[in-house]
Symmetry: C2
């Protein structure tokens, strides 16, 4: 089978609604700072009504990663569920903007396209409240196995590991990718997400995942340990490659006996951390599919993360390809 694509992502198809808020706003609305909370439509409307001037940017963790890989020059596909409404049209346009294939048919009835309210506090940290909308009904019927099997890497976001049909779709997609000799990558997405579904995630990581992306809190939650080094020792045996991100401390990349310590990169002032992990994964995966050394995969990940945290919103605003040409 030919490698017609580099990365196919599967994730929640949602539009981000970003707004600057005070810490008090996050607390008032019972949200956990720095984390992602799933909310229903009435709560979404209440939070949106209270939010100030906002900016809309297509989001979704895996979709952000795919957009980053495509911006670097990779050939990508995306699978996710929007509705046939204006926000769905915006999401579709933006995923396709760099040539990414996105042909999951939009839902013609049911909830509207999902959106995620992203509250950026004065410390530039982001707190998210997600109304999944049409994405909540994602399931095996939405998969395009031929698309998945045509890509070197299948990339899955942990956020989708929640409803049963989405879990079945995940496993089916991973098995399909492996059957075609492809690699399966997963991001753990959120430590609360990991805690809610720890057993499932452990099984997923141990049996189905080749490349694992996680931050410190997520990997510690997965192995129920309190320090990063303990988590690092655990993950070594379980995945072919693990890329563990540590915010301003950079990242650690593990593979068998190999261990690389990758420093963070700065390309501008810290404005908004939204999308940092997603764009780290984008840089890493692009490097991986291009045959870079694992250290250089990590460096490109750091660089892409550096771009996205220097402005509001989770998608690159400068050409990552040009940035890579200047910095790598």
């Amino acid at each position: 089978m030919s490698d017609s694509l580099d990365v196919v992502g599967i994730g929640n198809a949602i539009v981000d609604v970003l707004s600057r808020t005070e810490d008090a706003f996050v607390a008032q609305h019972d949200l956990v700072k720095g984390s992602m909370t799933l909310i229903d439509l009435p709560r979404a409307e209440a939070i949106y009504g209270a939010l100030g001037q906002s900016v809309e940017v297509s989001g979704g963790s895996a979709a952000n990663t795919v957009a980053g890989v495509a911006d670097l020059g990779g050939r990508c596909g995306f699978i996710g569920r929007v509705r046939n409404d204006q926000l769905g049209g915006i999401f579709r346009h933006d995923v396709r903007a760099n040539g990414t294939i996105f042909d999951t048919p939009p839902a013609e009835a049911g909830p509207p396209t999902g959106r995620c309210m992203v509250m950026v506090t004065p410390d530039s940290q982001r707190t998210m409240a997600t109304y999944l909308g049409a994405a909540v009904d994602f399931g095996p019927a939405d998969l395009d196995l031929a698309l998945i099997q045509s890509a070197k890497v299948l990339y899955l976001e942990g956020y989708l590991w929640d409803a049963e049909p989405a879990k079945r779709a995940f496993l089916e997609a991973a098995e399909g990718a492996h059957a075609a000799g492809r690699k399966v990558a997963l991001t753990l997405s959120d430590s609360f997400c990991v805690e809610r579904h720890r057993a499932g995630f452990l099984d997923l990581v141990e049996r189905h995942v080749d490349l694992l992306f996680a931050n410190e809190a997520e990997i510690a939650a997965l192995y129920q340990v309190s320090d990063f080094d303990a988590a690092l020792q655990q993950v070594r045996g379980h995945c072919e490659v693990a890329a563990l991100t540590r915010s301003e401390k950079g990242s650690v990349v593990l593979s068998g006996e190999e261990v690389h310590i990758v420093d963070a990169i700065t390309v501008g002032p810290l404005v908004d951390t939204t999308g940092a992990g997603d764009l780290y994964a984008a840089g890493f995966l692009f490097g991986y599919t291009e045959g870079y050394s694992l250290y250089d995969c990590g460096r490109l990940g750091s660089l892409c993360a550096a771009e996205v945290i220097a402005h509001l919103g989770p998608r690159p605003q400068r050409s990552l390809k040009e940035l890579a040409r200047a910095h790598m």
Copy 2:
């Protein structure tokens, strides 16, 4: 009649779709760099389809100005026409976010909420292609005379001076404001707009406008002169106050015998000029309604413009009130 509000704006209710492009993209799509071109739906879809990853931010010239005045602490109202769709909901949310009154009923049929494709070229200049959508049918029936008469200043955007019903609405609004002893402010919006409707604008400026906002190209187009100083001499007799903006050269504020030269202010790197004129007007009008000297009105205008050009999109992303506290 009590001054319950500071500024009421009337303008096109549209959402901006911002994207970075090369100069060649602007030329390919027959757009005039730095200017605003009205387009129909098929052309809007063709341009949007060709545009890369975009960011959506509520826009509309007068709406941006009103959002700026409200962010500074002013009490505002807005009148403009959206449809009852998702983009209309976003526009309404953002105008109301700082307490601005916006009660124009959304259209329940007809074209969707308008949008403006904003192409930001590598020199940070913006070129606009606007599909007016629901805003194209704006007319006298959309006016709320009580709201207009409750504000110290009525602010009109020249972009709306195009279709006959909108022109009638403009004149009706201006006469209503003057009947209540209020001031009428106008921005000329765009030099091509001025050239298309020069006689109408001249009549508007001479007979109905107290405060005029224009940039160099617009004021030169209005008086058909080639240099700024010639335009400046012409406008002096025609308006109570004229604030003429000159990009990085700052602005000149005229009122009778008074002339003030106001320098530009820098608060960050130049990222995107979208909204610079709108936010200059916001700072100026807030100062004006608060009784600032004309020089300080101009300085606050410069400061607000400086904030909006330091990021993508035409609405403030930092608190203008705090910025003013730090700089004025």
